[in-house]
């Protein structure tokens, strides 16, 4: 029985494998805690996998998932989550910019009843352009999603496994997990964590570009409302379109003017939009009927309100 799984995606991090392992071991040394360290080798071209395999031989708590080629950070996270057996999942970066010494504090929060504990890198140790892009992305995220996660780019997070094992992961879904979960009613806490400058290697995962983040957020927002109510989620949009439409028709027939051709045309275009949106929503509803597990995420979120069993991890002797 494993209580905690620590999931670390690694891409060309051969210098960091050993230090990461010893840091994690050290951080959790005082805790009588059954944990496993899941290293996901995201198709590294250097000796990351050999280093990790060497660790497996020394330490039975280490498990390594090796990808056939590079699939990106979300895929690596998804694979780690899939393979992990713990009741609590901790994710962190493989470059040692996160400090494994923060893990026990995150776990304490989960013990206290929170569903997600996320790190907040108050003092980031990156280039200023990187920090700025990330800040803007977070600001937009807070606005569109209606949730405030101060630092969604921080990988150091702890989740209840039940919460995220069912969420489909693709694209850059891993960035949105906290926001999604908060919208779904999960209890979330932010913790200030250490952020250290890179000791070895260079940053591999590039900037999150603002346009992409915005588009992703619109689609995820839509997906979330879709997952909640697959047949009726679009009604608000239809209603809005219908209102504008009625107003336009009212203007055409009641207004004091003599340009019926143009205003009538506009009204017809708006009517076609309303019709289109109705058909569109029905098409979306079709998939919910075809694929019954569409609602999984909504169900997971709903089941959270019933209290989850506590993960008991004995504290180190004071």
């Amino acid at each position: 029985m494993v209580a905690v799984s620590i999931i670390v995606p690694m891409y060309d991090e051969e210098e960091n494998v050993g230090p990461l392992h010893s840091a994690v071991t050290q951080a959790l040394a005082g805790w009588e805690l059954d944990y496993e360290l899941v290293l996901v080798d995201d198709g590294s071209t250097d000796r990351t996998c050999e280093q990790a395999a060497a660790l497996v031989r020394r330490d039975r708590r280490v498990r390594v998932v090796k990808f056939r080629r590079n699939y990106g950070q979300t895929a690596a996270m998804a694979a780690g989550i899939e393979v992990a057996r713990g009741d609590v999942l901790v994710t962190m970066d493989g470059d040692l910019q996160n400090d494994p010494a923060d893990i026990p504090r995150l776990l304490e929060c989960i013990d206290d009843g929170y569903d997600i504990a996320i790190g907040w890198r108050r003092r980031r140790q990156d280039g200023s352009a990187r920090v700025l892009v990330s800040k803007i992305a977070n600001r937009i995220m807070a606005r569109i999603m209606g949730v405030a996660v101060r630092d969604s780019g921080c990988s150091l997070k702890a989740y209840r496994a039940q919460l995220i094992k069912g969420i489909p992961m693709y694209g850059e879904m891993h960035r949105f997990l906290p926001a999604l979960s908060q919208l779904a009613g999960a209890r979330l806490i932010e913790l200030e964590v250490n952020h250290r400058p890179r000791r070895f290697g260079v940053s591999k995962y590039g900037f999150s570009r603002i346009q992409k983040v915005m588009l992703d957020m619109i689609s995820i927002r839509a997906l979330l409302s879709y997952a909640r109510a697959p047949l009726t989620w679009h009604l608000r949009v239809v209603g809005l379109s219908l209102l504008v439409n009625i107003a336009m028709f009212g203007y055409v027939f009641l207004g004091q003017h003599d340009s019926y051709v143009i205003t009538g045309g506009v009204a017809m275009v708006l009517a076609s939009l309303t019709l289109f949106l109705v058909a569109w929503g029905l098409a979306g509803g079709l998939f919910a009927v075809l694929e019954p597990n569409v609602r999984t995420y909504a169900l997971i979120a709903a089941s959270l309100s019933a209290r989850l069993p506590r993960v008991t991890s004995p504290r180190p002797p004071a």
Partner: protein, 322 residues
């Protein structure tokens, strides 16, 4: 469908799959050349011919070979289903672990083909490309265009039109090849994480002749590439494509709207001008394009569970675990 007597049962090393679609050279000469090349490799092999619809003379020639010299497997479709269908049918019937896919005409010098098989110890797919130094200029230009367009779709491989490939059978367990996607087999295999090698083979003499294709062929190849490049780029995030497109339309609509409002301030009436219609139309179009993108997202979201986005090579744990 008709079967020649099967070769002696038991495993063979190499299954040669030859789709017979539209372009063919003389059946017996082609077979003899391939046969001679394979005999020199000291591997056991079988031949599987898949005929795409009626090729009466070709079928007759194959039956003759099968009777007198070497038992062939022959599958004949009752109508034309295309190259990919032939290929997959051949793969389904193959018994060898290595599949050698060859065209029914001379494309590369047959005696060089064993070089492809020699690669198969270290890779999953070996794709040949023609050394075009002796080709006519039209052939070279055409090859260059095809390669350049394929690069747009994300392919890094040379000469996608070269149908000579050696593929490990298990690649086809995961590879999903759809209509007319055979030129992109190496690229699709690489996306799944298989190792792909490229091998330069000398071009066959007869392949250097001047050939012309139907213009619709070029058009359909181009459309296939466009579709494939969309799939490979936006499969995971369709809204990034449709959303950007929709945003452009909405931005155009807003721009004409602002232009209109400025003119109104300057005393021009708004409601009786076609530009009002244009503005509304552009915005509505933008919304519709974005909405289509969201439907695409929903499809991915609902179907995602059945297809993982990554391929695990292996999981390393201590032996006493599990």
């Amino acid at each position: 469908m008709m079967h020649a007597p099967r070769p002696p049962l038991g495993n063979v090393d190499v299954s040669v799959v030859i789709p017979v679609v539209d372009r063919t050279d003389e059946a017996e000469a082609v077979w003899r050349a391939y046969h001679a090349a394979l005999t020199s490799t000291e591997r056991s092999y079988e031949f599987i011919y898949v005929l795409d619809g009626a090729h009466p003379e070709y079928a007759e020639a194959l039956a003759r070979i099968s009777e007198r010299e070497f038992p062939l497997t022959m599958v004949q479709f009752n109508r034309s289903f295309g190259q990919v269908a032939c290929l997959l049918e051949g793969v389904r019937r193959a018994r060898g672990d290595t599949l050698l896919i060859l065209p029914a005409y001379f494309q590369v010098a047959p005696e060089a083909i064993p070089a492809l098989l020699d690669q198969m110890e270290s890779v999953d797919v070996a794709a040949a490309y023609r050394d075009r130094s002796g080709d006519n200029s039209l052939g070279r230009l055409r090859g260059w265009w095809f390669e350049t367009f394929a690069r747009m779709a994300g392919s890094r491989f040379r000469d996608p039109g070269c149908a000579v490939r050696a593929v490990k059978r298990y690649v086809f367990d995961e590879l999903q090849l759809h209509h007319e996607q055979h030129p992109f087999l190496p690229m699709l295999a690489e996306q799944l994480g298989f190792k792909v090698a490229q091998v330069s083979l000398p071009q066959a003499q007869t392949d250097r002749r001047l050939r012309t294709h139907n213009p619709t062929t070029y058009l359909s190849i181009f459309l296939d590439i466009v579709a494939l490049s969309f799939l490979t780029r936006f499969m995971q995030k369709p809204f990034r494509f449709f959303g950007s497109l929709g945003a452009i339309f909405i931005a155009l609509g807003v721009a004409t709207g602002i232009f209109m409002l400025i003119q109104r301030q300057m005393g021009q009436e708004m409601a009786d001008r076609p530009i009002l219609l244009l503005t509304v139309l552009l915005i509505v179009l933008g919304i519709q394009i974005g909405a289509v993108g969201l439907i695409a997202e929903i499809i991915i979201f609902t179907r995602n569970r059945s297809q993982t986005i990554y391929r695990i090579d292996k999981i390393i744990v201590q032996p006493d675990e599990e």
